[in-house]
Structure formats: structure tokens, C-alpha cells
Symmetry: C2
Subunit: 281 residues, 2 copies
């Protein structure tokens, strides 16, 4: 899997690339089958919705779950990003976002790189967001919405929203969003389970609540160029990883076959990864 | 404007009919120009979002605003419903729903006739919901969502949701919604300003929040067959009207020309219309 010149141009212009049905139904089933087990755990990496019960997001499952650990090394995902950055990658963040039927809440308009820069001291926006649809995404179950071209403006001013949802977020003011949408519009890539989106760390995005009876479980992860690793460990290690070892890909069939992977947090998250540290190690 | 046999069949089967661009852009502009004035009023008929400022819904503008009073007598809206019920109509409820850019909150899955029956003692579901789009409705600004065919089940059990949004609502449980959607799916009619939806009082509907920079102002009103008038005045008169005088239509060009209309609440809402009464008059 190699990105074409046309795809590279489109990524530069729009800030995202959409790959419908990149993974098969059965590959996604292998992942989905693990999700209830993960959400049933009482691990500290799991953030719940305002109701205190429905899982909203779950960090770092690739550190303790075998199937997600294989996904984290999948060549169909890793290789295009290596191509774009021209170097090896490490996993900056890995999460499973529930957006569960009926109870999945919205995410306000935000950029990710602002947080990576301000909290994690990541030098440049050379970390790629990857969204992989474990469920079909349609107009009713809260698809990701992007403002194409908004990544060109770098880091925008943001305010800390601690009230709208259960997860605090640096969000962008209404006037700026209106101006960006006037220029670039809004798109919401929709497609079957197994679809993948690559999007720029500065691309402005949001998503609505899920009022439908269809879960919309997606994996969102961020692949950072190794040379661009974070310099500050202010956030817990399970949110912003501190291990910069380059990802070595598994074979293309890894989701359907057995491959050996390290599961360092299998027996629990190390205490030092549960909190922020004053200085990088 | 007369409904065809095919439209009558479709209404019976799906529980709604969609008329894209039934009104012109300039007719909608005449209405939209009045909305800021109405929302700026401090009348008791205006319900605000949880933020206490953004207008969520505004009742009974046709009782004090000249342009909305003309809409309330528009033949393109009234005639098809008269045809369906075979008798004259009165205005049971009239509201302008803001669903404003960024701050417009969601409406959970519900039916309207449940409330009309339980609170207002309306004998049958012979009152038609009408939605008229003053702004374009697209996938991003919180379109109405319907479960086609769900009106066939009559009044479903509902629980009183007083926490999700600023407006308390009798909402339907998740299991029932999942079952109905399994059978009928979900549709969300979208279209330009001036489009109209007629939908059955038992049709299950909801709408998402509006995270987009585009307002989605719509008029929602309910036209009740005169013989089916409500029997109980438990809710304030500005929410469930107590005047059953049959609507007399104005000419088709009424939104663009001057016609004389009564504005009985022009100088304020009568005190007895602000509260529920024990008995019907």
C-alpha cells in the first residue's frame, strides 16, 4: 500500500484521506469481539460518559489486549504514514472511542496538535491521526466532521471546555469555526466497518451525539514521527505514550492469524504511567 | 395543492410526506426577518437552552406577530391536511424551534400524540405535525429524524425526561427504539429553506444537536381536526391552544403581500393563557 501522488496532493490540500473498506468485515469482527471485554474492565484508562456507566473512550488497549496490539502494528495503517513522514513512527496515543448507541455524547470542534504541543511539548505537527471504523459509520451515529483545509492555519487559539461532556477538551470558538467553514465547508466521511481515515493533527474536527440504536465504535490513534517525540510528560503515560520505540509492522494478515506481540501492561498499568511527571525521562 | 392517491398511500405507510421547496426563498426570508425580533422579546412563551440565553423554542408567535399569523393561515399548508382529515382545522400548537448554530441542543426520541392525549385529552391522533424549514436543513445542523412506519403502533410507553435538555419531554426507551428502527430504519428529510414536512402525531422522531455554524430555524405546528379538539386545559394556553375556531385560509401569496390578520396577543399574553386550568372551559 503506497499513497499515489494524487493522494499526497489531496492530503496536503484537504488535511485528510479516506479509505473506505480498507479492512475486511472479518478483520473488524476480530477487534469488535474484544471491545466488550475491554469496556467491562475497571482499568483507569477507561473514561465513562456523564452517566458514569457508558464507556466514552478507552486508552492504550494495545498495551494489554492481543488483538488491538496487532492492529497497532498493522502495515495497511503504518506504511502510508511512514511514507508521508519519511521516517519510522511510534504510537503517541491509542484509544477506542465508544460513541455508543443512544448514549454516545458529542465532541466539540477542536484540533489535536494544540494539546500535543501545549501539554506534551511535541515539536511539530508530525503526528498523524488515524480513525478506523469498527462499526459502520452513517449520518445518524455521530460521524467525525472535518473542516477541509483547516489544518493549513496551524494551531488555533482554544479554550478549555470542562462542562459540555465528561472529557475536558481544548475547543475552538464559534467565530473561528464559522470563518473556517465559510471557506472549507464541512465533510463527514461515512462508510462500512473497516474504513480508515488519516487526518492531520491540525485539522479541525468534531462529532455529534449518537441518538441512533447503532454503536459507532472506532479506534483513534496517533502515529508520531520518532524524531518528533514528545518532550514533556505532563499527561499520564497511558494518554501520551513515553516509549518512542519505532513500530515494527506485522504481516498484512495479522488480524486474522496468530502473531506474538508484547503486552507489557497485561497485568496492570505501571504506577508511573498513571500520572503526569514533571520532566521527561 | 391536492394530495395524490400515491401521496395518501405513502403517508399511510410511512407516517410522513416531504415537500422540498414548497415555499420560495423570498417567502422564507419574510419569516426569518421576524425571528430575531421574536427571540429578543422577553415573553413567557420563549424557552431557552441550558445556557439560559440561546432560544430553544418559542410558542404562539402567530398570536402576536403579523407574518407568522399569515403563515398560520397558509393554504399550501392547511389545505392538504384538511383533505386528509375531511374537515376544518384549528391550531393546536405553534412554535418556532431555534436549533441555533453551535448551541442548538438535541431532542430525544418521542411521539407528540402521547402528550396531547395524556395532558390535553385529545380524543384521537387526528392532529397533523407540520415542519416548515426557514433555513436549509442539512446533515450537519440537526435535521429531524423519523422512524418510518412507527406511527402504526399508536401511543408507546414513555418516560418523563427532565434532565437531558432544557425542555422536559416524554421519551421512548432504547429497547423500543432499537426494535422500531430494525423494522423501519431512520430517515432525515433534508432540503432548502421553504421545504415542508407533514408527519403523523404518532410518528417517532428525534433530532441531534447542531454543532454547525448554520442556524436551523423551523416552524413546527400542529393542525388539529376541529371535532378532535382537546378536552383538558392542563397545559398553558400558549402551548396547547384553547380556541377551536376553524382556520380560514388567506390567499396563496399571503406571505409576500399585506393581508389583515387578528393579533389578539399583540399587547401581551392574557393571564389565563399562561397557566394550566383544572377544567376545560
Amino acid at each position: 500500500m503506497k499513497l499515489t501522488d494524487q493522494q499526497l496532493e489531496r492530503f496536503d490540500r484537504d488535511g485528510y484521506l479516506f479509505f473506505p473498506s480498507l479492512f475486511s468485515e472479518s478483520e473488524m469482527q476480530a477487534l469488535l469481539a474484544e471491545v466488550p471485554k475491554i469496556y467491562a474492565e475497571r482499568r483507569p484508562e477507561i473514561v465513562r460518559e456523564k452517566d458514569g456507566a457508558t464507556p466514552r473512550t478507552s486508552f492504550a488497549a494495545h498495551m494489554y489486549n492481543r488483538v488491538f496490539a496487532k492492529l497497532a502494528r498493522h502495515p495497511r495503517m503504518v506504511k502510508p504514514v511512514e511514507q508521508l513522514y519519511g521516517e519510522k513512527l511510534y504510537m503517541h496515543q491509542f484509544k477506542i472511542n465508544g460513541k455508543m448507541a443512544f448514549d454516545g455524547d458529542l465532541w466539540q470542534w477542536h484540533q489535536d496538535y494544540g494539546t500535543w504541543k501545549n501539554d506534551d511539548a511535541m515539536p511539530e505537527a508530525r503526528a498523524m491521526n488515524v480513525a478506523i471504523f469498527l462499526d459502520e459509520v452513517n449520518e445518524f451515529n455521530g460521524p467525525l466532521m472535518f473542516i477541509p483545509g483547516s489544518h493549513k492555519l496551524g494551531v488555533l487559539e482554544a479554550g478549555h471546555d470542562t462542562t459540555t461532556t465528561s472529557y475536558p477538551l481544548w475547543t475552538i470558538d464559534h467565530e473561528t469555526i464559522a470563518r473556517l467553514v465559510q471557506r472549507g465547508g464541512i465533510v463527514a466521511p461515512k462508510g462500512p466497518a473497516g474504513s480508515m481515515i488519516l487526518f492531520h493533527g491540525c485539522l479541525v474536527h468534531a462529532s455529534s451525539a449518537n441518538l441512533s440504536p447503532w454503536n459507532r465504535v472506532s479506534v483513534y490513534l496517533s502515529l508520531c514521527a520518532v524524531s518528533n517525540h514528545i518532550r514533556r510528560f505532563k499527561r499520564p503515560g497511558y494518554i501520551a505514550h513515553r516509549d518512542f520505540t519505532p513500530i515494527e509492522c506485522l504481516p498484512d494478515d495479522c488480524l486474522l492469524k496468530d502473531y506474538s506481540v508484547a503486552l507489557p501492561w497485561k497485568d496492570g498499568t505501571p504506577a508511573e504511567e498513571l500520572q503526569g511527571l514533571r520532566e521527561a525521562a
